[in-house]
């Protein structure tokens, strides 16, 4: 019970539950006081990182700001016009979102463990630009191979020119903004 005490929704739920039980029996409810073994899922949140005891978790600028800061302190990860009214991609929101996820998964697999930033996907005219910061884990010539491969592969997959705009850092620490 104490575990849920901070969450008003849970408090409401348990209040109702105990009340309905109380109607049937006047005895106190032993199971409510029992030991709770599941993970405290109520503390899991999207888009926010929990701080560590000794402030050792490194966050990039992007990760440091909550999703509520999108449009203020940071930008979007996908740039396209599918959410604009009367745009010719108005009805393709779902499709474009799915393909963006496909691109992200493809990049995660092709540039394995190299991206230290989010993968930013911008659609301009008929071209898809994939931007991001990579870690210099492999020599530049191999990186060029991957760039060429990705551009051509995704070009044939999505039927439009795909271009990569990469920047690089020599150490992963270079991309960290703060520690929490």
């Amino acid at each position: 019970m104490a575990l849920f005490s901070r969450n008003p929704l849970c408090q409401e739920f348990f209040r109702g539950f105990s009340a309905s039980l109380a109607r049937n029996s006047a005895a106190p409810l032993p199971f409510i006081r029992s030991f709770h073994t599941t993970l405290p899922t109520n503390r899991v949140q999207a888009g926010k990182y929990r701080s560590t005891q000794y402030k050792t978790r490194g966050l990039t600028y992007e990760q440091y700001y909550n999703p509520t800061f999108i449009g203020f302190a940071k930008g979007w990860n996908s740039w396209n016009t599918s959410n604009l009214r009367f745009a010719n991609t108005e009805h393709q929101t779902a499709q474009i979102t799915i393909y963006d996820m496909f691109i992200r998964k493809f990049i995660a697999g092709t540039f394995h463990n190299m991206f230290v930033s989010e993968v930013i996907i911008k659609q301009r005219h008929n071209v898809i630009y994939i931007a991001g910061i990579v870690h210099q884990t492999v020599p530049a010539r191999k990186m060029y191979f991957l760039i060429g491969y990705t551009e051509e592969f995704l070009g044939f997959f999505l039927k439009c020119p795909v271009k990569m705009e990469l920047q690089s850092v020599s150490s992963k620490k270079d991309s960290l903004f703060t520690y929490i």
Binding site: A140, R141, Y149, T150, E151, F153, F156, K159, S168
Partner: protein, 681 residues
């Protein structure tokens, strides 16, 4: 609209090529019409009043009619061209093919090539996947469908089960000629009547053009840029009895077009006997010979005949038979004749004949192309021939002209012109003129591969190095290096000489750092002469910088991996120079380390340190009172036979205030056995 107006305004200021925005008077149609109206109405006043009156006049039904200007027909890319013409070349950034990030920007010539080709290799890998698993790339469907992005555009290696005429046409036009020929063979066996003569002719022409190979993918630009395809193609030999020959056999009766395609291809791929035989057959059958056949035949005259006179005779016989048949020559004909003349070395009449050809060209009303001038320069400016200033006339003739590619060999003009300006005339002003010509309009497109680009810019810098002041040279150098050109060690050495000649050694550290970045610093043809120049300069304010260079050399040579295949070892002169440069700046420890490593054979070395270096080191060591090291040096001197140093051993020992016993031992270093003297002091 606002953007478009902006472009027009820019166009007016930037002096765009005529034709893009119509005539001068057509460029501002609205202003023109308003002005015309007000002048015809003879109204006087401020421009605003004029405009207001004219507008009201338009709205009056009885007013005079406004003349609308004619619509200017523009191509779809005109606006892009106009925008592009407002953007110059960025000397500070890498070429667009590279990623603009320090890690990704190539700093030496090898990496430039490797990076670009790696990217292309990645593209090819992706295409391989597309070819192998086309089913995976079917969805999502594109709307509208663009054929270049469809997996089917990569097919061609896949053979249709039942080939049709459409398959042949599709494969052929996509450039998949091997597949097209397979489909053709199958269809020709089953239903030869289904194949029209036009189709056969088209297939033959395409097979001939590509020597029966698949066409080179026009999307793969880098390989073309770095591999110098044009030269390779010349070296490729004609496939005798190959697909083209077979299709030619199937054509019955033989047409003049079929013969023409075969003769051109045989000549172009250097199968000269084949070309000659086919031409004779063609003549026997009394078929009309088109001008292209004559052109290709004239080009291979140097391969058919050996002696000067017979070559010219044969060329003339082709020209006179053209004349008899009433075939008008074109630009390629004249260029072919000029090429023949340029290939006849040491012919007395070559200059006058070439000028005759140019006069004839003018008579025929044919404008010479850059290739014609390229051959002209080759004829007039031979390496061992007398100096000719014809390049100046050529440049004058080209001034203000918009150049277009009209002959494949046009791209040779700029490297040749720069070579003539540099090595033949040795004239900075002319070289600058050629350089400026390259950067006017879109002329830089004439440098069609990496080799021409490097040769052109390398030669330009070499002229400047020889004839310009240090300051002016570095101005151009900073513009071109390293983004446009990565210099070779020859150019860097020339720069060192220039700096030495003008007595401005403050530039030497900078040349060194460039050499390091370009991966040329430790090259043996670079290192020794460079260090020698440093040693010859005794500027007090630079000794620290020079010592830093010497220390850099030491660190770089010692830091090489032992298992590296092309390791650069120490050499005698390098050891001496490094030691002396370090000592000049009072850095005894690293200097001793170099010599000490040599004595203890810790480093791989060719040659031995010089006497000056050793005695300078000994002096410093004595001053620092290091008898052990001094003794090792003196021993080394006795091994190497530097007797002056050995003779001074006793003095040195006295200066070090060693006990009498030691002094006697030191005296014996030169005379006694070496092993005996190596005992402890």
């Amino acid at each position: 609209m606002a953007g478009f107006l902006c472009i027009l305004r820019l166009a007016a200021t930037k002096n765009l090529p005529p034709g893009l925005f119509g005539k001068q008077s057509d460029r501002f149609p609205w202003r023109f019409s308003v002005g015309a109206f007000s002048s015809t109405a003879e109204l006087q006043g401020t421009p605003e009043e004029d405009a207001a009156r004219s507008v009201s006049a338009v709205s009056r039904p009885s007013g005079r009619r406004v003349k609308l200007p004619k619509r200017i027909v523009r191509s779809p890319t005109d606006i892009l061209d106009a925008l592009a013409s407002t953007v110059g070349k960025d000397a500070t950034g890498p070429h667009y093919r590279y990623v603009d990030d320090p890690f990704f920007i190539p700093t030496n010539a090898t990496n430039r090539r490797i990076f670009a080709l790696s990217k292309e290799s990645g593209r090819k890998a992706a295409r391989y996947m597309v070819k192998k698993y086309p089913a995976l790339f079917e969805k999502p469907k594109a709307d509208p469908e663009i054929s270049a992005f469809l997996a089917a555009s990569q097919l061609g290696s896949q053979r249709p089960t039942e080939p049709t005429v459409k398959d042949i046409v599709d494969c052929m036009r996509k450039g998949a000629l091997v597949a097209a020929f397979e489909a053709y063979t199958e269809l020709n066996e089953k239903t030869p009547e289904a194949i029209t003569p036009e189709l056969r002719q088209e297939l033959l022409e395409r097979l001939c053009f590509h020597n029966s190979d698949d066409a080179i993918d026009s999307d793969l630009l880098e390989e073309k840029w770095f591999a110098h395809y044009i030269q390779k193609e010349v070296r490729r030999r004609w496939k005798v009895g190959g697909p083209a020959d077979k299709v030619f056999q199937d054509i019955k009766p033989k047409t003049a077009e079929a013969y023409a395609a075969m003769i051109c291809a045989n000549a172009r791929f250097l199968h000269v006997e084949g070309a000659n035989t086919l031409l004779e057959e063609m003549q026997q059958e009394n078929l009309p010979i088109p001008v292209q056949v004559y052109n290709e035949m004239i080009k291979i005259v140097p391969l058919l005949k050996d002696s000067i006179d017979s070559r010219w005779e044969m060329t003339m016989s082709f020209l006179s038979s053209m004349n008899q048949a009433g075939v008008a020559p074109n630009l390629q004909t004249f260029n072919a004749v000029l090429e023949v003349i340029s290939r006849i070395a040491m012919w007395r009449r070559s200059r006058s004949t070439a000028l005759g050809v140019f006069a004839e060209m003018k008579r025929c009303g044919i404008e010479p192309s850059l290739a014609s001038y390229h051959f002209l320069l080759q004829i007039f400016c031979r390496e061992r021939g007398p100096i000719s200033h014809i390049l100046l006339d050529v440049l004058q003739a080209l001034e203000g002209k918009e150049l277009t590619l009209r002959d494949p060999k046009d791209s040779n003009f700029f490297p040749t012109a720069m070579d003539v300006a540099g090595r033949h005339l040795r004239d900075v002003a002319v070289a600058r003129k050629v350089y400026d010509l390259l950067w006017t309009n879109n002329n830089s497109l004439f440098l069609t591969d990496a080799l021409k680009d490097t040769v052109f810019h390398g030669n330009f810098l070499k002229v400047l190095v020889a004839g310009e002041s240090v300051e002016n040279f570095f101005k151009v150098y900073d513009e071109l290096v390293p983004m446009t050109l990565v210099p070779d060690s020859n150019l860097l050495l020339e720069m060192v000489k220039m700096v030495e000649f003008h007595e401005e050694p403050q530039h030497l550290p900078r040349i060194w750092s460039d050499a390091v970045v370009f991966g040329l610093a430790l090259k043996d043809n670079m290192l020794e002469p460079f260090l020698a120049v440093l040693l010859n300069n005794h500027r007090e304010d630079l000794k620290e910088a020079f010592a830093a260079i010497a220390l850099d050399v030491k660190t770089r040579i010692d830091a090489q991996f032992l298992d590296r295949a092309n390791r650069i070892p120490w050499s005698g002169p390098v050891i001496s120079s490094v030691v002396r440069l370090l000592l000049r700046n009072g850095q005894m420890e690293p200097a001793w380390e170099v010599v000490g490593n040599y004595i203890n054979k810790k480093t791989e070395t060719f040659g031995f340190p010089s006497e000056e270096a050793l005695s300078e080191l000994v002096d410093v060591l004595v001053a620092a009172e290091q008898p052990t090291r001094v003794k090792q040096c003196v021993t080394l001197a006795s091994d190497l036979g530097f007797m002056d140093l050995v003779r001074s051993a006793e003095d040195l020992a006295k200066r070090l205030r060693l006990p009498e016993q030691e002094i006697q031992k030191w005296k014996r270093i030169g005379s006694g056995s070496v092993a005996a003297s190596l005992g402890n002091i």
